[in-house]
């Protein structure tokens, strides 16, 4: 994709999220490259989905990826020098990068839902509602980031709001 197209692509996403995490056109290019390494060969990728959905929900996907990339870089890992298999091993060995990314992604979603719908959900509730299985929730709950509250009785409500966000309904 030509460089100026990444600039145009930025307009598809929530500017609040982009500004908060300092996501630039160069970062979009990095995210696409990173996902290409990780997910080539799959029938769908999270990059394609982020671009297709756009808005705040698409921005939450970008935030996850850029936080993961930056966290790896902060500990001296250049994710672009690895093959798919090697990068999967690196991520497994540095699970904290993924966990921090989950946390920041859902911290942002927490703020968006509060701004757009006036609803507050705990981060763990949003992770449970936003993932099709409990893998990421378990990584988060078992991490050292903190103690999280899961509002089990509000997960379905959170799912409804997240779906509205995906559909771009306010």
């Amino acid at each position: 994709m030509p460089t100026n197209q990444y600039q145009q692509l930025l307009a598809r996403f929530d500017p609040v999220g982009l500004n908060r995490y300092g996501i630039t056109a160069d970062d979009l290019q990095c995210i696409e490259r990173y996902i290409h390494i990780l997910q080539s060969g799959l029938n769908e990728t999270v990059w394609d989905e982020a671009v297709q959905i756009g808005g705040p929900y698409g921005a939450s996907i970008l935030i996850h990826e850029i936080v993961e990339i930056r966290t790896l870089q902060q500990i001296g890992i250049d994710p672009y020098r690895y093959t798919q298999k090697e990068l999967a091993r690196v991520l497994a060995d540095h699970l904290s990068a993924h966990v921090v990314a989950i946390y920041e992604e859902h911290l942002y979603l927490q703020d968006v839902l509060l701004r757009q719908y006036g609803c507050h959900f705990e981060v763990a509730t949003l992770v449970k509602a936003n993932r099709a299985d409990d893998t990421d929730l378990n990584y988060l709950l078992e991490s050292d980031i903190g103690v999280f509250l899961l509002e089990q009785d509000r997960v379905e409500e959170a799912k409804t709001y997240l779906e509205q966000l995906r559909q771009g309904r306010v």
């Binding site: 997910q39 060969g41 769908e44 798919q84 298999k85 999967a88 991520l91 497994a92 709950l141």
Partner: protein
């Protein structure tokens, strides 16, 4: 015995490698365990497999492609926990989550007793946990580390009187 099936993906260099596998748990449910390269897409396939009640032999119905190939079903003699740990290492899946077998939490269970203080304030139960405790409480709720909650309800009925012997 554990039945499993590995999923291989063709990388950019043309080499096939395993970065996910499906395992049949005791109750016959199939769970896909995947490396972090899959991001949240792994969970989506997991949900599809479980909602459609697919067996290990039917996984091509939800997950197939030119760069994906399922290996034949394998029956392993080792127990679940050892099998999962070995396959996790091979497929670069981070440490097993407690949700799959429930055994990991038991194995590492702390034996130290955590004392919660209970107060009744204006007729409501208020629990307090020590600041250093991994348990978080709020009102009458105890939040467990795995995300579940315990709620302690106060009973207002008097205890039945003991029968004279």
């Amino acid at each position: 015995m554990t039945r499993i099936r590995k999923l291989q993906r063709k990388g950019g260099d043309g080499a096939w490698h395993s970065d996910a596998y499906a395992v049949e748990t005791h109750n016959g449910q199939i769970t896909l365990r995947y490396s972090l390269a899959w991001e949240y897409l792994g969970g989506r396939y997991n949900q599809m497999i479980q909602e459609q009640g697919l067996s290990l032999e039917q996984l091509e119905q939800v997950l197939a492609g030119d760069c994906l190939r399922w290996l034949p079903v394998e029956t392993l003699e080792t127990d679940d926990e050892d099998t999962i740990q070995a396959l996790d290492r091979e497929c670069h899946v981070p440490q097993p989550a407690t949700a799959l077998t429930g055994q990991r939490a038991d194995r590492h269970a702390q034996t130290e007793v955590i004392t919660l203080e209970a107060h009744i304030i204006s007729g409501r139960l208020q629990l307090n946990a020590p600041l250093t405790s991994p348990i978080r409480v709020q009102g009458a709720h105890i939040y467990l580390e795995d995300g579940r909650q315990l709620q302690i309800a106060l009973a207002s009925d008097p205890m039945p009187e003991s029968q004279p012997g």
